[in-house]
């Protein structure tokens, strides 16, 4: 369309975004003895898929994948269930204790994970859920809730209350108004929150290492980080796993990004 005001900045940003990704893929396709040339090789001389096959077989990558998918997926579900209702409550209602809740959320965000490790571990041990996938789902939900609730509240805030009232006039209750009318309009917000939850759960390492001791339920980041120790990094495997870890997320987002578009509220209030 020749609209350089849009295409130029987008182009520049794409270069910035994609160059490291290209370098990641480029490196993953090289045999180890080509990785460290200087001047660097911008494309492998002997392109090889050996790293990928090694990663798949020796680390039981398939199992790590499945575990990560389950944990991240469940985290998103639990997060959404709590956040949709919680955010709506925070957005639409005036009630006592709201400032306190905000302080609670803030504190939760502020606590560094180093501090949370031992207390959470103790709590989980008494709950008896250590070494299950649920312990990770719960932990991720706890850490992601404050931000997600506040963001969702913000999204609900920007939807005029007239919409709720219109729906309730038509015979829904509060909850019905939320589910039938407000939520569809806030869909971009829901999608953003889902993406946020999924990515954070997908990449989280420390809790995954500390709370899980059984290899059968280990997640992807643990397998990835195991390629590094004090004396060496297994670059081939690390890069291959890094690339492969992108694939499901990319597929998810390719599908879900269309819901970031508005177009659902046009005329709803007036029309």
């Amino acid at each position: 369309m020749g609209n350089w005001r849009i295409y130029l900045p987008i182009g520049l940003y794409l270069v910035f975004t994609l160059f490291p990704i290209y370098w990641l893929v480029n490196s993953a396709l090289k045999p180890t003895n080509e990785l460290f040339r200087f001047p660097p090789l911008y494309w492998p001389q002997h392109l090889t898929l050996q790293n990928f096959t090694d990663a798949w077989t020796t680390t039981r990558l398939g199992r790590l994948y499945v575990n990560s998918l389950i944990v991240s997926g469940l985290t998103c579900l639990l997060l959404l269930a709590l956040v949709i209702f919680g955010g709506y409550g925070m957005a639409r209602f005036r009630f006592r204790g709201k400032p306190l809740i905000l302080v609670l959320f803030l504190l939760a965000q502020i606590m560094p994970s180093v501090v949370l490790l031992v207390p959470l571990f103790t709590i989980y041990k008494h709950m008896g859920i250590l070494n299950t996938r649920m312990v990770l789902v719960l932990t991720y939900t706890i850490t992601l809730l404050p931000f997600s609730v506040l963001m969702m509240r913000g999204f609900f805030d920007s939807i005029p209350e007239e919409m709720d009232e219109a729906a309730m006039v038509d015979g829904c209750g509060r909850i019905g108004a939320l589910l039938r009318v407000v939520l569809p309009s806030a869909l971009p917000g829901v999608v953003a929150t889902t993406i946020f939850g999924f990515i954070n759960a997908w990449n989280e390492l420390v809790y995954a290492v500390i709370f899980i001791s059984t290899p059968t339920i280990q997640t992807l980041p643990v397998g990835l980080a195991s390629m590094i120790d004090e004396q060496r990094t297994d670059y081939g495997m690390l890069l291959a796993i890094g690339v492969l870890a992108l694939v499901p997320s990319l597929m998810l987002f390719a599908y879900i990004q269309r819901y970031l578009t508005q177009g659902l509220t046009a005329g709803a209030v007036k029309g």
Binding site: T32, N33, L35, F36, R37, F38, T58, T59, I70, L74, L77, L78, A81, L117, V118, F121, T122, K125, I129, L130, N131, T132, R133, M134, V137, G176, L179, R180, L183, P184, L187, L205, V206, V209, I210, S213, T214, P215, T216, I217, Q218, V222, G223, A225, S226, M227, I228, D229, E230, Q231, R232, T233, D234, G263, L264
Partner: protein, 431 residues
Amino acid sequence: MRRSITRRDFFKVTAAGTGALLPRRARAQTGGKVKISFLWPFVYAQPAQAELVNQFNAQSKTIEVEDQIIPQTQVLPKLTVAFSGGIGPDVLAVPGSLYAQCAASGWLENIESRFKGSDLEKDLLPPAVKLSRIYKNTAYGVGYAIALYAMYYNKEHFKEANLPGPPKTLDEFRDYAKKLTNPARNRYGYYLLGGSGWAFQQWSTWMIATGGLGVNNTFFDANNKCILDGPKHIAGVERFLELYKTDKVSPPASATGTFSDAANAFNAGQVSLVFGWLPYIATLSKGLGADKFETVMPPGGEAGQFIHFGGGDVLAISSQSKHKDEGWEFIKFMMAAKNIGEINKEAPMPANVNVLKEKWMDNPHLAVPKQVVQTPEKLAMDPIYVPDYATFNINYSPEQIQKALLGQQTAQQFATNVAKFLTDSLAKLAR
């Protein structure tokens, strides 16, 4: 596209969510076997140890081992949390730099009675026996790998520069490094480490080659004071600093460079000389090519030629384990010559005497280490037994050497600081 959410959707999601949230436990015990857990925090031999675990499980009628690989960077948090919560792994492979610390924490079972006089002990090379007893002269684990800090040089670069062979003295080292350095071609003679992790072994090589070692080849004198602040030692480290500051035979970035950086530069053909533990052989073989470099002793000086003995990795039983006998059975299995050989193929020097005779140990890169490991007077005993060794390695030493390299403190200040730290740390042991 309008998509309205119906009540049905809501209940579907809730039902699915609730169902899926029911705890998915890992599979429970298999048959009537006793289950023990085994922790492996290394990059090397991940498939090899998994294979050995399978073999053990197949042949044992009473014990089932479940092994878990974790990233080494998370080992301390993991063990700290697990042990203080009372559920550490039954058997664990402990990195050498953490061994003394883990023993001091009470996490490891005292296996002196099992170890003393056993076949395991008889088959171990002397340095490995020493390693096993490094903490308070009691065995808290079985050393299965011996960590030696060797020098590696690029044969092609040396041929190009018409150099006869590896440098054997500090002066030769400096000389050769200068000849091999050509900044215009982005080529340097040496990559010295200033970043975290075992920079200590590098700069201290210069110090002990010039000033010698303390009692029993350790870094301490008869009064338990660290020897590194003596005048000869200061002179030694000055020579080291000169390499970076005046001779500039090491790339400017190396002042904060880590082990990985040194390996990468070496593999890229940017530098001709590096130092490192024996696993470097595998790293450099993969990156540069096994036939393009050689493994030799570090250079010596007026006070002698030494190779650092940095302990090594250890198999240990947790003091909290409820299945210590089973754990010991598993360790005995792993320490059999053939098995431990498998583990050590990509790793440090194997500790079992019988492994030395194996075919794969004829690898030319292992010639010098094999020799050295049987001549203890060439070994410099790193202070891995002081309680703060891990901190020293990762934090204190890099901080100090970086300050010295970047001109923020003198060689004398550096030596004094370092010596004081080690002396104080050793004193904690006596308490």
